[in-house]
């Protein structure tokens, strides 16, 4: 700052220049501590916001709501017509073509043993990707994004009160996120992606 001043006012004498320097330095010294504190608290606040709120893609399966970390979901949309294949378990519905790519479709309801919902709906898909494995999860409806602050609001472990029909899924659960009436079961993408049930078809 002082330099800039000096260059702008070439007439200014050397003496004045040095006094200005000294003055500015003194001010800086005094405020430095406060500023550092401020910065630290700002950083902390920012970090808290970023780190703690993790976004999840929530979707409906029958009457239940589940969610996957946003990092493991490549895209979502309405499921195009599924072409069935022989010799595959019922929970793999078949294959679909999404943007020229052929992908398999996993019916979450059947995989998780949840009772099948109404069939006349246009189902949606969640394109799940884990390492080099990619497939479509067929879901009833995309419910949106849920932000979960795990530190502040820890996930609840699975209990049978959520319903016996979910016991088949419990191995994939990371925990439940409860906001008022709404319960979102957070799925563990690692467990889902490396589940022997899924991987055996690779």
């Amino acid at each position: 700052m002082a330099d800039a001043n000096a260059s702008h006012n070439p007439d200014t004498g050397d003496q004045e220049d040095t006094t200005l320097h000294a003055l500015l330095a003194a001010i800086d010294r005094e405020t430095a501590q406060e500023l550092a504190l401020d910065a630290a608290s700002l950083k902390e606040r920012a970090a808290r916001n970023i780190r703690k709120k993790k976004p999840y893609i929530a979707f409906a399966l029958g009457r239940d709501e589940m969610a996957l970390p946003i990092g493991s979901v490549r895209e979502i949309g309405y499921l195009p017509p599924v072409t069935p294949l022989p010799n595959i378990p019922p929970w793999i519905r078949g294959i679909v073509q999404i943007r020229g790519e052929i992908l398999s479709v996993v019916d979450c309801c059947l995989l998780f043993g949840i009772k099948e919902a109404g069939h006349h709906l246009r189902p949606s898909y969640v394109l799940f990707t884990h390492e080099n494995l990619t497939f479509c999860l067929m879901v009833d409806r995309i419910a949106g994004v849920v932000n979960v602050d795990e530190l502040h609001d820890p996930l609840l472990p699975f209990t049978s009160e959520y319903g016996d029909h979910l016991s088949g899924v419990s191995s994939f659960f990371k925990g439940a996120h409860v906001v008022g009436e709404r319960t979102v079961h957070i799925l563990d993408d690692q467990k889902l992606g490396s589940s022997p049930l899924i991987v055996q078809w690779q």
Binding site: P81, T83, I102, S104, H119, L121, W201, Q202
Partner: protein
């Protein structure tokens, strides 16, 4: 007029003055270089312009002077000689005169024209006098551009001027380089100088240039030149590779030799052999005499030394490394320069390159083996083969040294030494030598392919034997002259003109030329890049198929439009005939006359004396009818136009289709290579295995030129190796056994490739003992098949040999592990091909491999089962039959096709779809090959055949039994491609485990039929239906709806019905609905603007289930439909129904 003349006089003078400096410059240039043809031409052009222009404007004197100048220049140009100093002086003076004349003219100074002309005349006359002299002078030094002619005459008549000229140009560049290199040498070599890196590099440059000249000369058939250059190169080779130092006195000799080379190139007539020999001899003495203490005056001796060195090097790898490290200073690059990855890349490139050379080796050795059946004197053709072999070995040596494969380069070097001797030093060749050489080259091939597999002592042993041969022979043939090759080459050259061997020479030269020209036009492309291109071409092909579908829709629309336009016409006609005439008569009273203008009005009034029949009077109705008529005609015209456009687009698509198909074919061709690429490897394996087992076998390859994708050959290489090993090990008997059976001791393995339609059929047969079914049966019993074996026929037993781990032999190094045939089948299958076996006891075994010619794109039969279309590769299908009733025996699962009873499957059964049993009458049956036997497959319906690109099933489903992949069609739908044999196996397995029935039925979409005569109502309702995830079906009136229902095309879950409709109204439809098959159970919702209770009651009475009024609320409609169809118990869909909007 005179003003005019002055105008262009001034313009003309300016123009001429503009030329003067250019001409001056040109003359100046010519002084420096009198032969510069384009300058000469430029000058001639300018002189010509001035002459012509001067005579046009009427300045005779300038015209004459310029004319003289032009003449001289013309002579110079025609005679192709330069301009003498005097001529240039004269021209300079002339140009100066022209300049000053113009200036004078401009300033109005009078000029003595006659004097000017005389002066010019005198100048040029003097020139003409000594013109003869001058031309004589010029001819002393042959101008370069004239050389093509005599040279062409000198060289073989077949080498044309063009080639020679190109050679000359090329050679001149090299001569220039040689000249500079020699100068460098002269400056560097003072006294005896040790060979350092810099010097070596210079020698290398010289050698390269000489080598190139040699190669080029031999290509265009200058045998003398090539032979001479070769000898020079030999010396340079030695200098580069072996010499430890260079002496000063050697350099002038080298310079002499190279000068001689230049003379030979530029003016072959001046070349005398005597001198060449002296120079070469001097050079050899000068260089080698000093360099080697062995005082070798003979070429052969020198080679000996080299070979010894190599042997030593081989014996102690460390030395080899050192030696090559030395060499590496210039030629090879140090290892540290490359990362491992780069080395890998280099190595791959080397393998690829080496493979080509090994093929060349194989081809040449083949020729030598055939031609040399006793000790013969090498003729030119054989020498050429030896040369080719040497070149290939040399290249392998160089390449391997560069990438640091020292074993290979050291060994190749040893072999090359022998070849050098064979080419340059030996005159005879006997079968034993050829055999040893074959072995040595085989060894080289093995070394390149798998360096670990060749033991060091085998290599050393082979090299020793080669060395022994070259030594032995040398004793017998003391070399009389230093240049055996040169004289021989010229002798051969003489002979060729006289004897029949000329043909062979020509034959040998022709492919060489072809090869050379092909090589020059070859671009190396990364295979991945090519694959990407091919994939794109495939996608294009599939993409354009998508057009077909839309064209179908277009056509349908056109047909509909034609109907509509015809109906419109009919209506208009009807109106016209029925109403217009009447209107004239009666309606005119009710309608207001049209009074467009007052005049019209007046006219109509004034025509009142006419009767209505006597004069037409137009009412509004008349006009509407008219315009309706016109519109009808317009619509018909538009229809015709659209028809034209349709066929135009159709034609375009057809053309495009052809072009893309061609593109695809050509793209595929870029990857093709002939079967010959495998033959050298096969031969090696065969000889190797045969010699180890003590059997005598020869390999006959038919159809070496058959081409297939390179990748396919790579995939086939392994199966071929296995088949060769198996044939020799299992099939072919020992020589004694064979003789006992009355077969020739030398067994034959035949590999015959042939194109059959879209397939390449490779028959791999041996003449051995055939499959031993007893042994197979015995083995199978122990293999765990138990008593089932006894019921197996030969066909099934044959099938067993492809079973993993199955072998009748005990395990040995060669075969018997039971892996081979498994691999054969797997690899062929991967290529979408098939293997079948034909065998006869004592007569041998034939494996028939069928491989599709094109990869990637597969023609598939599209079969519709229920809602899903499946693809079945056409390759697998032999033929398609429509079977009569009773041909299929359901009980024992067989059917009777074309006189044969074959196992029968039903596709629906295989797919596990229940309730879709094939129609027993007229069932379509595919006759297809599965696991070597024919089976029948019933299919419900064929929807066509298409070219498809098979893709994988995604990253999740790597392998699904019975599905080899899936293809995306033009419209984005997916067609799974079925692997029927696998499917049949999977189905039978599933039966054993009592697991069946997959969820193969697509859940049918919930369908709502909208029956309304208003197109906008139909559209709005359709949108609403789609938004709820249902499928809409539209009908434009009751009759249409009934027709659609009767066609059984649709089976709606709900019908939305209007009341007032043409043809058949809502009430009529309701009455009719219960009589339509299945119509009774479909709930009907009335949607109408008639709100009265009367209508409602009538509808309910007729069977409607709900009554809605137009316009209705969306929610109301959705709720009603859900309620009626019993779907309302699921709350989510309702929510979805709302949110979806």
């Amino acid at each position: 007029m005179s003003q005019n003349k002055n105008d262009f006089l001034a313009g003309y003078i300016e123009e001429v003055q503009a030329y003067v400096p250019t001409m001056r410059a040109a003359i100046g240039e010519l002084r420096a270089n009198p032969r510069q043809r384009d300058t000469l031409e430029e000058l001639h052009r300018l002189a010509h312009i001035i002459r012509g222009a001067s005579s046009m404007v009427g300045i005779g004197v300038l015209s004459r002077i310029a004319g003289r100048m032009e003449d001289t220049l013309e002579q110079a140009l025609e005679g192709r000689r330069g301009l003498a100093e005097e001529a240039l002086d004269a021209m300079d003076a002339t140009v100066a005169r022209i300049g000053s004349y113009c200036q004078d003219l401009q300033q109005g100074v009078p000029v003595d024209e006659a004097q000017l002309t005389d002066l010019a005349e005198a100048d040029f006359k003097g020139l003409d006098a000594n013109a003869d002299e001058m031309s004589l002078l010029d001819s002393m030094e042959e101008p370069i551009f004239d050389q093509a002619l005599p040279f062409a005459e000198f060289s073989d008549s077949e080498s044309d001027d063009e080639l020679t000229a190109a050679f000359q140009t090329e050679a001149e560049e090299h001569l220039e380089a040689l000249h500079q290199a020699i100068q460098v040498l002269e400056s560097q070599v003072t006294g005896t100088v040790p060979m350092n890196g810099e010097l070596r590099e210079t020698v290398r440059q010289i050698r390269r240039s000489v080598h190139t000249i040699k190669g080029a000369a031999s290509v265009i058939g200058l045998a003398d030149l090539a032979a001479y250059a070769h000898l020079v190169e030999d010396v340079l080779d030695w200098l580069y590779e072996t010499a430890g130092s260079v002496e000063q006195r050697a350099v002038p000799h080298l310079a002499d030799a190279l000068d001689l080379l230049a003379i030979m190139i530029l003016n072959p007539a001046l070349f005398d052999e005597q001198r060449a020999q002296t120079v070469l001899a001097a050079l050899q003495t000068a260089c080698m005499g000093a360099g080697t203490s062995l005082a070798a005056h003979e070429d052969g001796e020198e080679i000996d030394v080299l070979s010894e060195a190599v042997l030593d090097a081989l014996a102690s790898p460390a030395d080899t490394a050192d030696m090559l490290e030395d060499g590496a200073t210039t030629g090879a690059m140090p290892d540290s320069l490359f990362s491992d990855e780069e080395k890998q890349l280099l190595y791959e490139g080397f393998l690829e390159e080496a493979e080509e050379h090994l093929q060349q080796l194989h081809a040449s050795m083949q020729i030598l083996t055939v031609e040399i059946d006793k000790r013969v004197i090498l003729d030119a053709g054989q020498k050429e083969e030896v040369r080719k072999i040497r070149r290939a070995v040399h290249t392998i040596k160089g390449a391997s040294a560069v990438i640091g494969l020292r074993d290979i380069s050291a060994y190749a070097h040893g072999v090359e030494d022998f070849l050098d001797w064979l080419y340059a030093g030996s005159r005879h060749l006997d079968p034993e030598t050829v055999e040893i050489l074959t072995n040595a080259l085989d060894c080289l091939g093995l070394l390149v392919e798998s360096p670990e597999s060749v033991p060091m002592d085998r290599r050393t042993d082979l090299l020793r034997r080669l060395l022994a041969i070259s030594r032995e022979n040398k004793l017998e043939e003391p070399l009389v002259e230093n240049l055996p090759d040169l004289s021989e080459a010229s002798a051969v050259a003489d002979a060729t003109s006289l004897t029949g061997s000329a043909d062979r020479e020509a034959d040998a030269a022709a492919p060489l030329q072809v090869a050379a020209s092909e090589a020059s036009r070859t671009i190396r492309i990364n295979q991945n890049q090519l694959d990407v291109l091919i994939n794109l071409a495939n996608e294009l092909l599939v993409g354009i198929s998508g057009f077909d579908q839309n064209m179908g829709l277009f056509k349908k629309a056109l047909e509909e439009m034609e109907l509509t336009s015809r109906r419109l016409k009919d209506i208009a006609l009807e109106l016209e005939t029925k109403f217009e005439v009447k209107a004239l008569d009666q309606l005119s009273r009710h309608f207001v006359h049209i009074d467009k203008t007052v005049a019209d009005l007046k006219a109509s009034q004034s025509f009142s004396e006419f009767d209505a029949l006597e004069l037409d009077r137009y009412t509004q109705l008349n006009l509407i009818i008219r315009s309706l008529n016109e519109s009808a005609i317009d619509v018909a015209a538009i229809h015709t136009n659209l028809g034209g456009v349709y066929s135009g687009i159709g034609g375009d698509i057809g053309r495009q289709h052809r072009v893309i198909r061609e593109l695809q074919v050509q793209m595929m061709r870029t990857r093709l290579s002939p079967m010959a690429t495998l033959s050298s490897r096969l031969n090696r394996t065969l000889r190797d295995v045969a010699s180890r087992l003590g059997k005598r076998v020869r390999l006959v390859i038919e159809g070496e030129r058959v081409e297939l994708d390179r990748m396919v050959w790579e995939k086939l290489a392994d199966p071929f190796m296995h088949l060769v090993r198996n044939a020799i090990h299992h099939g072919i008997e020992s020589p004694e056994e064979r003789q006992a059976c009355g077969k020739p001791a030398l067994a034959t393995v035949t590999l015959a490739g042939r194109r059959e339609g879209n397939h390449l059929v490779i028959r791999f047969s041996d003449d051995g003992r055939g499959l031993d079914f007893a042994a197979i049966r015995e083995k199978a019993r122990r293999f765990g098949l138990g008593h089932a074996v006894d019921q197996m026929d030969e066909e099934q037993l044959t099938e067993l040999i492809f079973y993993p781990g199955f072998s009748t032999k005990t395990i040995s190094e060669i075969s018997g592990r039971g892996v081979g045939m498994d691999v054969v089948r797997a690899n062929i299958k991967e290529l979408q091909g098939s293997v079948t076996v034909e065998t006869g006891a004592g007569a041998g075994t034939t494996f028939v491999l069928r491989v599709p010619l094109t990869l990637g794109v597969v023609r598939a039969l599209l079969v519709k089962v229920g809602e899903v279309t499946y693809g079945i590769a056409l390759n697998d299908i032999k033929d398609i039959h429509r079977l009569e009733q009773g041909s299929i025996s359901f009980a024992d699962k067989t059917c009777h096709i074309a006189g044969e009873t074959v196992p029968w499957h039903s596709l629906t059964g295989l797919l596990g779809i229940a309730g879709l049993d094939p129609d027993e009458d007229h069932s379509l049956v595919l006759n297809m090959l599965a696991d070597g036997r024919t089976i029948g497959l019933s299919i419900p319906q064929i929807t066509g055949q298409k070219e498809i690109v098979i893709k994988g099933l995604g990253t999740h489903l790597r392998s699904v039994a019975g599905v080899s992949g899936a293809a995306v069609m033009g419209d984005g739908s997916i067609v799974p491609v079925l692997d029927i044999p696998e499917l049949a196996q999977a189905a039978s397995r599933a039966k054993h485990r009592a697991i069946a029935s997959f969820n193969l039925e697509i859940p049918r979409a919930f369908t709502v039929m909208i029956v309304d005569d208003s197109i906008s109502i139909r559209r709005v309702m359709s949108r609403l239906v789609v938004a709820n995830g249902w499928a809409p079906v539209e009908a434009k009136d009751g009759l249409d709806a009934v027709e659609q229902l009767e066609m059984a095309e649709v089976r709606p879950d709900c019908i939305v019905l209007d009341i007032e409709m043409p043809r058949m109204n809502g009430f009529e439809f309701l009455a009719k609905l219960p009589h339509v098959p299945g119509g009774k159970d479909i709930p009907v919702v009335m949607l109408t603007s008639r709100t009265s209770a009367k209508h409602q009651e009538k509808a309910m009475q007729l069977g409607a289930r709900a009554f809605l009024n137009k316009p209705c609320k969306d929610e109301e409609f959705v709720d009603t439909v859900l309620r009626l169809t019993g779907q309302s118990d699921t709350p989510v869909p309702e929510a979805e129904g709302r949110t979806a909007r």
